[in-house]
């Protein structure tokens, strides 16, 4: 009855076969050729997947090689430029640094001036009524068709109370209602799942804004209290606007960019 580390035990007792190391070496050497042969033979979806995998492996390989190389290469030190009197040929380095600061400042100013009302997605695709709504036939003989079913994602506020279902013109299905959005902070480059407070504006039509339809490009207000943002005066920011960047009805989730 083999128990515990019986494989190691067996190797310890009886050793390996004589040509074990040689076989191992040969197999390793052959591996490269095998891979190459496979890469040439494979086609279709498998090829796509294989190439992607191989690419990632190569990137990883190059990175490690680079890391090993860096150990030997001379590293630039930030304080290479000595203090005090500096020879003329070194002066432009400092100037360059300065230039960068300046350009940054200018960029910042330009951004503030022009981009106060600019949003990440300035244009949106128009959505026709019949894409947005599905006609629901009502009446005993199903002849009346004044009811509409919203087929896009919607936000329905917490305090919303339905009209009597008989007279409700717009139906917003429960399956398509959303309460949270994945909001990316463009400067922090981090994404948070934040609760939606309201729909500020749907660029398609004010009616959609009213209905709380969430489409690509819609501006929503999100609850950023968990980010702990503070205004210049020191108050905690509670609500902030964000713009939806994906098609929620296709993805089943809402991705948005915080407008800062």
């Amino acid at each position: 009855m083999p128990q515990n580390e019986y494989i190691e035990e067996s190797i310890k007792r009886h050793g390996r076969r004589m040509d074990h190391d040689e076989r191992k070496r040969k197999r390793e050497a052959r591996e490269v050729h095998k891979q190459a042969a496979f890469a040439q033979k494979v086609h279709g979806l498998k090829a796509k997947m294989y190439n992607k995998k191989r690419r990632n492996e190569k990137i990883q390989m190059k990175k490690t090689i680079k890391m090993h190389d860096e150990k030997d290469a001379k590293q630039k030190t930030t304080d290479a430029v000595p203090d005090g009197a500096v020879p003329a040929y070194l002066l432009d380095r400092e100037g360059e640094q300065k230039a960068k600061v300046l350009s940054n400042m200018i960029k910042q100013k330009r951004k503030e001036k022009a981009g106060k009302w600019s949003v990440p997605l300035p244009k949106v695709r128009g959505i026709a009524e019949d894409e947005m709504f599905k006609v629901v036939k009502t009446g005993k003989a199903k002849t009346k068709s004044w009811k509409r079913l919203v087929t896009k994602a919607t936000f329905v506020g917490e305090g919303f109370t339905r009209k009597p279902p008989k007279y409700e013109r717009f139906i917003r299905p429960m399956a398509l209602r959303y309460k949270k959005a994945n909001v990316t902070h463009p400067e922090l480059k981090a994404t948070f799942q934040l609760p939606i407070i309201s729909v500020k504006k749907n660029p398609q039509s004010p009616a959609y804004t009213q209905l709380g339809v969430l489409t690509k490009g819609t501006i929503i207000e999100v609850n950023v209290s968990e980010l702990g943002l503070v205004t210049t005066s020191g108050k905690v920011v509670w609500g902030k606007y964000a713009q939806i960047t994906n098609n929620p009805e296709n993805d089943g989730c809402i991705n948005a960019v915080l407008l800062v």
């Binding site: 009855m1 083999p2 128990q3 580390e5 019986y6 399956a175 089943g252």
Partner: protein, 640 residues
């Protein structure tokens, strides 16, 4: 034997990427793959919903398989629970399984959400995107389980290599300092073939071996050596020993090396015994002195000897000596240990509740003596006197066996089975009676009362004959019947002739005159002769010929009033006419005229006002309820 604690059956746990490949390729293989945008949207939705659901089900199946396979620490024997805690860390293990469980639930909820979303998909593109997003999210959840899956796979591999120890059976546990000869003893006693090396900690985990003693199966557990320090400082290897000592109800054999070849002094070894003594309570314990070839108890210094003997002072611990090198005292020690454990187990069983279950079933009832008289069992005198059968006695009753032996033994002599048949007459004993006769079993036809029944039947027959039941009455044919019979004979003959003629005609190989032509060629006389042949008077032919040649009157043009004018009632007329319904039921034309007048008078008002009358087409109910309500399932629009 220890089937409950066999962890070899756990299925391999694939890594996260392999897991995804398995599940997704299964979805691809097992669900339909062809869909077109032209399909009915319901069909498209259903196609993608099925994919999402199927993927979720596969994930669910695989993950619950993992959850079911891995033992739950609360359900296994405390020995195994503790051992697993020592080896794999209980918290880590539980966390990994918990994460798998959470992942399962998350995947379920994702699938639920996306099937709901798919219900609102209005195009193939949108449905496909939703399916893609749903599967992507499931894959992400699964990819996050990479570490748990990897850990569980390692645990599985290690678990499957654990020795299968049955915690409830008869067990000897060998323990002591490292390098004192535990594994050597194990190899001597069982066939376990544990590695023995001249350095400490050769045995790094528990080993189990099996042996037989007293026709019972015993397991011997070899533990790694333990050092004398507090429990908190013990490492994993030592903790395995401690677990075995703590949780298995077994005979403990504490090995001690008096020669100090192991590198630890006698004092140290004794102090270890004392420090782990709490683990030995209620267990038979043996202090085994090993390596007696090098040093015996008698050879050591008095102080050390006192130390060793102090251990055995209270009587619960017994002393035994052995040398695996010289093969001295090994079997004796083993037997001693086994005996001690057996005694203890039996005592334990008697103490427990279980013994009552068996004892309750066994009941010996002894009636209370009524009086002082001694009532012995009754044995008839004849029986008591009967001589006991003795094969050496020449006067013994002769058995069939003896007869067989006299006549040449088995194979030569055939035992006479017919000898003891019980029949009316002994002569019949050897009569040959066929069992099967003419393919029938004779026994089926044997009736013991056959003779009586036959006699009875014959008697009855005689009686019936005497009564004249079988006498047939005299038959007299009168004239009438004679005539009918001869007619019938004639008819039969005629029929035969006709049949023969038609048969001749059928076989003809020449043009045939068609029936209608033939009929036109025949004259009245032919018809008359034919009739005569049939026995009908020929003047029928005359009347028939006349009626054919006479021209037919036009009954339709006949005026009905003429009929009435003939003075007969309309209904009583014998000649067929197309009836005018307006005059039906009216006895005279006067009455008819009156009726017509009444009719026109009644219609006048309606006609003047252009009202709908009786004759106008009318639809009573335009939309009968039963044809216009409810779903149409079967039947047509007008008939359901």
């Amino acid at each position: 034997m220890s089937s409950i604690y066999n962890f070899k059956r756990i299925q391999p746990v694939p890594g996260a990427t392999d897991f995804l490949d398995i599940v997704l390729s299964r979805t691809q293989r097992k669900t339909p793959t062809v869909v077109h945008p032209g399909y009915n949207i319901g069909r498209i939705r259903q196609f993608y919903m099925r994919k999402v659901k199927y993927t979720q089900e596969t994930f669910d199946e695989k993950l619950s398989q993992i959850l079911n396979d891995f033992p739950q620490l609360d359900n296994v024997h405390p020995f195994y629970a503790d051992l697993m805690n020592v080896l794999y860390d209980k918290d880590h293990y539980k966390l990994a399984l918990g994460q798998i469980n959470t992942a399962k639930h998350l995947i379920d909820s994702v699938a639920k959400d996306y099937t709901r979303l798919l219900k609102f998909g209005d195009s193939l593109y949108r449905c496909k995107q939703l399916k893609r997003a749903g599967m992507g999210r499931m894959a992400t959840i699964m990819r996050r389980q990479k570490d748990s899956l990897g850990y569980l796979e390692q645990v599985r591999q290690h678990l499957s290599r654990l020795p299968s120890i049955d915690p409830n059976t008869r067990t000897l546990i060998v323990c002591g300092y490292p390098n004192v000869g535990k594994s050597s003893f194990m190899n001597k006693v069982t066939r376990a073939d544990v590695d023995v090396q001249p350095y400490a900690f050769t045995t790094k985990s528990l080993f189990v071996g099996h042996m037989d003693y007293n026709y019972l199966r015993w397991q011997v557990i070899d533990t790694p050596g333990i050092l004398d320090h507090p429990l908190e400082e013990r490492n994993t290897i030592e903790m395995q020993s401690i677990t075995a000592l703590a949780h298995l109800r077994a005979c403990i054999m504490f090995f001690i090396d008096l020669s100090e070849q192991c590198g630890y002094s006698i004092k140290e070894q004794v102090s270890l015994f004392n420090s782990i003594k709490p683990l030995f309570t209620n267990k038979p314990t043996l202090l085994v002195i090993t390596k007696t070839d090098a040093c015996k108890l008698e050879d050591i210094s008095p102080e050390d000897r006192k130390l060793v003997e102090d251990v055995c002072k209270d009587g619960s611990v017994e002393l035994s000596q052995l040398s695996t090198y010289l093969d001295e005292g090994v079997i004796e020690t083993r037997n001693l240990a086994c005996e001690k454990l057996l005694q203890q187990r039996v005592a334990m069983k008697l103490k427990g509740q279980k013994v009552h279950d068996v004892l309750n079933r066994v009941h010996l009832s002894v009636p209370a003596p009524r009086d002082s008289q001694d009532r012995k069992p009754f044995i008839p005198e004849q029986i008591a006197k009967r001589r006991k059968y003795n094969p050496d006695d020449p006067d013994r009753p002769r058995l069939e066996r003896d007869i067989e032996m006299e006549n040449g033994g088995a194979g030569v002599y055939n035992v006479d089975l017919k000898k003891k048949y019980l029949l009316k007459s002994d002569e019949w004993k050897y009569d040959v009676i066929p069992e099967i006769m003419n393919g029938k079993n004779v026994a089926d036809f044997v009736d013991p009362d056959i003779e009586e029944k036959l006699a009875e039947l014959e008697l009855e027959e005689e009686r019936l004959e005497a009564e004249g039941v079988y006498d047939s009455p005299e038959e007299e044919l009168d004239e009438e019947e004679e005539k009918i019979k001869s007619m019938a004979r004639e008819i039969r003959r005629q029929k035969q002739i006709i049949a023969q003629e038609s048969r001749l005609k059928k076989g003809l190989n020449r043009p045939v005159i068609v029936g209608s032509v033939k009929a036109s060629r025949q004259t009245k006389d032919d018809f008359a002769s034919h009739l005569e042949k049939l026995g009908v008077s020929s003047d029928v032919a005359d009347t028939r010929a006349k009626s054919i040649t006479r021209k037919r009157t036009h009954s339709s043009t006949r005026d009905p009033a003429e009929g009435m004018a003939r003075g007969t009632s309309v209904a009583a007329r014998a000649v067929s006419v197309v009836r005018d319904r307006s005059t039906m039921g009216l006895s005279s034309d006067k009455q008819a005229k009156l009726a017509a007048k009444k009719k026109s008078m009644s219609q006048r008002k309606g006609n003047l006002m252009a009202r709908a009358g009786e004759a106008d087409r009318s639809i009573g109910t335009k939309m009968p309820k039963h044809l216009f309500s409810g779903k149409r399932k079967m039947g047509s629009t007008d008939r359901r």
